[in-house]
C-alpha cells in the first residue's frame, strides 16, 4: 500500500513540479523509466510468487536503470544511440510482457 502510494505521489509530484530536465540526462530518462518499469513488474511478479525480497528489488531496480542508461550512453558515443535505445526498449518490453503474463496468471488464474 505504501509502495502504491509512493508511486501515486511521485506521479503527482512530477506533474505538479514539472522540473526542467537537465540536458545531460535527457536522452537517458525515457530508457531509465522503461527499465524501472521492468524492475517493478518483476518485483510485482516476485511478490505474487511469494519470493519478494526488498534488497533484491532495490538492487535490480537500480542496476536496471543504470545499465539501461549506460547502454544508451555507450550507444550515443558509438553513434548508434537511436538503434541501441530501440533495442533496449524492445528487450525490456519483452520482459515486461512476460512478467505481466505471469502476474495475470496469478491474479486472474488465466
Amino acid at each position: 500500500m505504501i509502495a502504491v502510494l509512493g508511486l501515486v505521489v511521485g506521479v503527482v509530484a512530477g506533474l505538479l513540479v514539472r522540473p526542467e530536465v537537465p540536458a545531460v540526462v535527457e536522452p537517458y530518462l525515457p530508457i531509465a523509466v522503461v527499465a524501472a518499469l521492468d524492475a517493478v513488474f518483476g518485483g510485482l511478479r516476485a511478490m505474487l510468487d511469494g519470493i519478494f525480497d526488498d534488497k533484491v528489488f532495490v538492487v535490480s531496480f537500480l542496476s536496471n536503470v543504470v545499465v539501461a542508461a549506460l547502454i544508451v550512453f555507450l550507444g550515443d558515443k558509438l553513434g548508434v544511440g537511436a538503434q541501441l535505445s530501440t533495442g533496449v526498449v524492445v528487450v525490456l518490453g519483452i520482459r515486461i510482457f512476460s512478467n505481466a503474463a505471469a502476474i495475470r496468471r496469478h491474479v486472474f488464474r488465466a
Binding site: 500500500m1 505504501i2 501515486v8 511521485g10 530518462l29 518483476g42 516476485a46 511469494g50 519470493i51 503474463a101
Partner: protein, 287 residues
C-alpha cells in the same frame, strides 16, 4: 512468447511455481530470495495464492522497511515517468528529446524549405512588381487618352471650351450679309488660329456649312438671324488683326453696310455642343 508460456504453464504452475519462475527470471529472483523474501508478503501463512498475497500486501498498510524502500523507488519511477511524459507532451519543446542527427536532419529540411519559400517569395514579388508597373502604365495611358479625348472633343465640338479670345458681332440691319461672307470670316478666323468657334449658339466644326436662307443665313441647317455673334477662342492678338487687315473681313462687311464690332476678352465660353457622330464607313486604322 508469453502465449507459449501460457500454454506450458497450465499444469506446472500449481506444483512448483517458485522453481519454474526462477528459471525464467534469473535476474529478478536470485537464489536467496525464497528464504529472505518472506517478510514482505508471505509471513503469516505458507501457502497463499498470488491474489491473496496481493491483497495482503495492499491492505492493511504496514510501515515495514521493505514497503518504505519500495515506496521510495516507486516515487522515483513515478516522478521520472511524469516528468518525461510532461516534457514529451510539451508541444513547443517537441525537439527537446530529439537526437543530434535528427536535429541536424530537421535543420537541413528547414533550411531547404526556407530556401524554396524564399525563391517563391522572390518570384511572386517580381510578378507583383511587373503587374504594378504594367497597371501604372495602363493608368498613364488611360490618363493620356482622356486628355486627348478632351482636346479632340474641343475640336469636334462635343465638349464646351473656354479661354481667351474675341467676340465679333455683325449688325446687319439691311439684310445684305450673305453666307459666303460669314464663311470668309470663319476661314479667316481659322487661319488666325481660332480653336473653338460658335455662331449664335451653333458650334462651328470642320463640316460646318453656311447657306443663304432668304434674308438670313442658316448654319448647318439652323437658321440664324442678325446680329451674328461670333464667339471665338484663340489668341486675341492674332485674331483681331486678322479680321481688321485692309481688304479683310471687316472691310468687306462694312462695304455691305453692316456694322462689325470686335472685342477682345480674357474669358470666352464656347458652350454650344455637337453630338459626336460615328462615321459610317471610315474606321480608325491605328491599333
Amino acid at each position: 512468447m508469453s502465449e507459449q508460456n501460457d500454454s506450458n504453464d497450465g499444469n506446472g504452475r500449481n506444483d512448483q511455481p517458485g522453481n519454474r519462475l526462477r528459471r525464467e527470471l534469473p535476474a529478478e529472483v536470485p537464489a536467496p530470495a525464497p528464504e529472505a523474501g518472506q517478510p514482505a508478503a508471505g509471513e503469516p501463512q505458507q501457502r497463499l495464492t498470488g491474489r491473496q498475497r496481493l491483497v495482503k500486501g495492499l491492505w492493511p498498510p504496514r510501515f515495514t522497511r521493505a514497503q518504505l524502500i519500495v515506496a521510495v523507488l516507486l516515487f522515483g519511477l513515478g516522478f521520472g515517468l511524469a516528468v518525461q511524459v510532461a516534457s514529451n507532451s510539451d508541444t513547443d519543446s517537441a525537439l527537446r528529446g530529439a537526437r543530434q542527427e535528427d536535429l541536424v536532419r530537421i535543420l537541413d529540411e528547414l533550411d531547404s524549405r526556407t530556401q524554396r519559400l524564399q525563391d517563391e517569395k522572390q518570384g511572386l514579388e517580381k510578378q507583383r512588381q511587373e503587374l504594378q508597373s504594367s497597371s501604372d502604365q495602363a493608368a498613364e495611358a488611360r490618363r493620356q487618352t482622356a486628355e486627348k479625348e478632351r482636346q479632340l472633343g474641343i475640336l469636334a465640338g462635343t465638349v464646351a471650351a473656354q479661354g481667351p479670345g474675341i467676340t465679333m458681332t455683325i449688325e446687319d440691319t439691311k439684310g445684305t450679309v450673305q453666307a459666303d461672307m460669314l464663311l470668309d470670316a470663319i476661314q479667316e478666323l481659322r487661319a488666325a488660329g481660332a480653336e473653338a468657334i460658335q455662331v449664335n449658339g451653333v458650334r462651328v466644326v470642320t463640316g460646318t456649312y453656311f447657306t443663304d436662307a432668304g434674308k438670313s443665313v442658316s448654319v448647318d441647317g439652323n437658321k440664324i438671324n442678325a446680329p451674328y455673334r461670333f464667339k471665338v477662342i484663340g489668341k486675341p492678338q492674332d485674331l483681331e488683326p486678322a479680321l481688321n487687315i485692309p481688304g479683310g473681313v471687316v472691310q468687306t462687311l462694312e462695304k455691305e453696310q453692316a456694322t462689325v464690332t470686335v472685342e477682345r476678352s480674357d474669358k470666352i465660353v464656347v458652350d454650344a455642343l455637337r453630338q459626336a457622330k460615328r462615321p459610317d464607313y471610315a474606321r480608325s486604322s491605328s491599333q
